[in-house]
């Protein structure tokens, strides 16, 4: 089946990100196709380039990036939710006159329309939230 995940919990604050990541891994292990993970609400913090958790804890940002590289999963971050929370890519940083970027590639800023599109195109959209 074609799946998409909607993640709305902040990393380390809630269980949501850990659960979503394990669910994502389980999906691809079972041979399903995970099309994309959409990050909304506080879930956008999963894309934080500067996250530096202790070494003996799971590194969620890197874990999402690895999943994306290994299985061509698109990591889509709601741009409106991200900008408010200080998550900017190169283009947005330039547009807002900010130095540096805070979104980790391959996460990409995109619109809520993409979430609607995923929900329509995929067989299942599974939400993880606090």
């Amino acid at each position: 089946m074609r799946y998409a995940i909607l993640l709305m919990g902040a990393p380390y604050s809630d269980q949501a990100s850990h659960s979503a990541l394990r669910f994502a891994r389980a999906l691809v292990d079972r041979g399903h196709h995970l099309e994309a993970v959409f990050f909304y609400h506080d879930g956008v913090y999963n894309a934080a380039r500067l996250a530096a958790p202790p070494q003996d804890e799971p590194h969620l940002v890197d874990a999402w990036a690895s999943l994306s590289f290994e299985h061509q999963v698109s990591l889509q971050v709601c741009i409106a939710a991200a900008l408010r929370r200080g998550l900017l890519d190169e283009r947005e940083a330039a547009r807002h006159g900010k130095e540096g970027t805070s979104v980790q590639p391959p996460f990409e800023l995109t619109g809520l329309g993409q979430l609607v599109d995923l929900g329509t195109r995929c067989d299942r959209l599974v939400t993880f939230g606090p």
Binding site: H41, G113, V116, G119
Partner: protein, 124 residues
């Protein structure tokens, strides 16, 4: 109750009040975007979410925009199916006619049909 109330492309469930967190605002944003993309969107106000429909709410002193203005725009976006969970209303001792928009009350028993009648459900 007419059957079309139970059907649609997207059901957005709103379970948070208008103040204290951005859940309601971000849930409504998702509903508006989906409607702008031509989807048939229904809203279901559940639990504390019914407080969103109390009349006379303002932006408040924190400089946040508030959600009443967004709710007023729903009709413009063709979001016409507004459902309120009866239990949520009774939780706050409210009745349908005290709310700022015309809504349809649904019982717990009817909720299952509402959920299964929508292709996609997003909960905020």
């Amino acid at each position: 109750m007419h059957d079309h109330l139970y059907d649609g492309d997207l059901l957005v469930i709103l379970r948070h009040g208008p103040h204290g967190s951005s859940w309601l605002k971000e849930g409504l944003d998702a509903a508006l975007v989906a409607a702008a993309f031509g989807r048939h969107v229904s809203l279901l106000f559940m639990g504390e979410g019914v407080m969103a429909l109390m009349a006379g709410q303002q932006a408040g002193p924190l400089g946040q925009k508030g959600t009443a203005a967004t709710l007023d725009m729903l009709e413009m976006y063709d979001i016409e199916t507004l459902l309120v969970d009866e239990q949520g209303l009774s939780l706050f001792d409210l009745s349908c006619d005290e709310l700022m928009l015309e809504v349809t009350c649904v019982s717990s028993a009817e909720l299952a049909r509402v959920l299964s009648g929508h292709r996609l459900v997003l909960t905020f």
